[in-house]
């Protein structure tokens, strides 16, 4: 196993491996929660200690707020989110037939806002969009990820291609860390498998909630690669591939991450 090799051999292996490395077997998949220290886990486990829940409170207020030219709230159409939004986050990004491509939960919220409420879309990474996404994602807690819709296949493949492609000045692919070397350390911090089951997450380093797209851009920046713009097809394909790669893992949003 690559993961149990000494450092020198490991480095040699990491740089010699072909672009397409072995994926994590379903039985070995575990949430990034499992790689965190006990204090950070305790924070996530207690809803009165998890700062992500402050965003959820914002989201709940927005869910019930009447806005836009139509004066409708989310609740006016969708009713009680605890019922209507159950399981929704576990199957996003989802295929949008009208657009002919997948859209993530954030884009879906903004789509409703523009088309149904006739209101201005929220900015990416705004407190409003993160809060509403967190509130909706919370309703899927404990529900396993399922992005098995056949129409998503080509987009998952596109995401897989990006995941396995070496990028940036560091010339590394996502797979080289998160498939080949999960469980090892990078500058003292554990390398997790890189699953998307807790987003939006409250990241302690950010001192705020953040989306999966922000996290992806953060990793690309670490590779000194060009960042995909928010809402770009590359980002959504990557999100979708990560969801397919985490198929069956339970949603734990809003998670706390270090």
């Amino acid at each position: 196993m690559i993961r149990h090799m000494p450092v020198a051999a490991l480095l040699a292996a990491a740089f010699a491996l072909p672009a397409l490395a072995a994926e994590i077997a379903p039985a070995e998949r575990k949430s990034d929660y499992e790689f965190m220290g006990p204090q950070t886990r305790a924070m996530q486990d207690d809803d009165t200690a998890n700062p992500g829940m402050l965003g959820v409170l914002d989201g709940e207020a927005l869910w019930n707020a009447r806005v836009g030219a139509t004066g409708k709230s989310c609740a006016d159409c969708h009713g009680d989110a605890r019922e209507s939004m159950k399981g929704v986050a576990a199957r996003y990004p989802a295929f949008d037939p009208a657009l002919g491509r997948p859209i993530d939960l954030e884009e879906r919220i903004n789509q409703s806002r523009v088309e149904q409420q006739k209101a201005a879309p929220f900015r990416f990474e705004s407190n409003e969009l993160l809060g509403l996404t967190a509130y909706i994602a919370l309703q899927s807690r404990g529900i396993p990820i399922d992005v098995s819709d056949e129409r998503l296949k080509p987009f998952i493949e596109a995401g897989r291609e990006i995941f396995n492609r070496r990028q940036g000045q560091i010339n590394l692919s996502c797979a080289q860390c998160h498939n080949d070397n999960w469980g090892q350390k990078l500058a003292g911090a554990p390398i997790p498998q890189g699953h998307p089951n807790g987003y939006p997450v409250y990241r302690l380093e950010w001192q705020s909630l953040g989306s999966l797209q922000r996290r992806l851009r953060n990793c690309l920046s670490g590779l000194r690669a060009e960042l995909y713009p928010f809402g770009s097809s590359e980002n959504v394909d990557l999100e979708l591939y990560l969801m397919s790669r985490a198929q069956g893992l339970k949603i734990e949003a809003p998670a706390v991450r270090p």
């Binding site: 207690d46 809803d47 009165t48 302690l204």
Partner: protein, 107 residues
């Protein structure tokens, strides 16, 4: 403007029991040392004081400083003495003020 808060006080306790109180409040805790995209200094905006009163009597107080992270989380202990109200008050820069209350029944 009221800030979002999350308070965790046990609803019931035995007289003399040591109880844990947890508070979390949404606040940017801007240090005053950072610069914006245009190079201008972002002014300090922090919570400066937190006070907890138990039936009107002060049981805990904290002074906050710039190095405390955003959305500060505080946890502390007290002895359950009587039924009543535990009140929380945060004050800070730019006239920031937020207060919360939690009832407690002591048997």
């Amino acid at each position: 403007m009221t800030a979002r808060t999350l308070i965790n006080v046990p609803a019931k306790a035995r007289r003399g029991e040591v109880i844990e109180i947890k508070t979390l409040i949404a606040h940017p805790m801007e240090t005053g040392y950072r610069v914006g995209l245009g190079g201008e200094l972002i002014p300090r905006n922090i919570i400066t004081t937190f006070v907890c009163n138990y039936n009107g009597e002060e049981i805990f107080r904290a002074d906050f400083a710039r190095a405390i992270a955003a959305n500060p989380y505080l946890t502390f202990f007290t002895t359950a003495t009587a039924s009543g109200t535990i009140a929380f008050q945060w004050t800070g820069d730019n006239g920031f003020s937020a207060s919360e209350e939690a009832p407690i029944t002591v048997e």
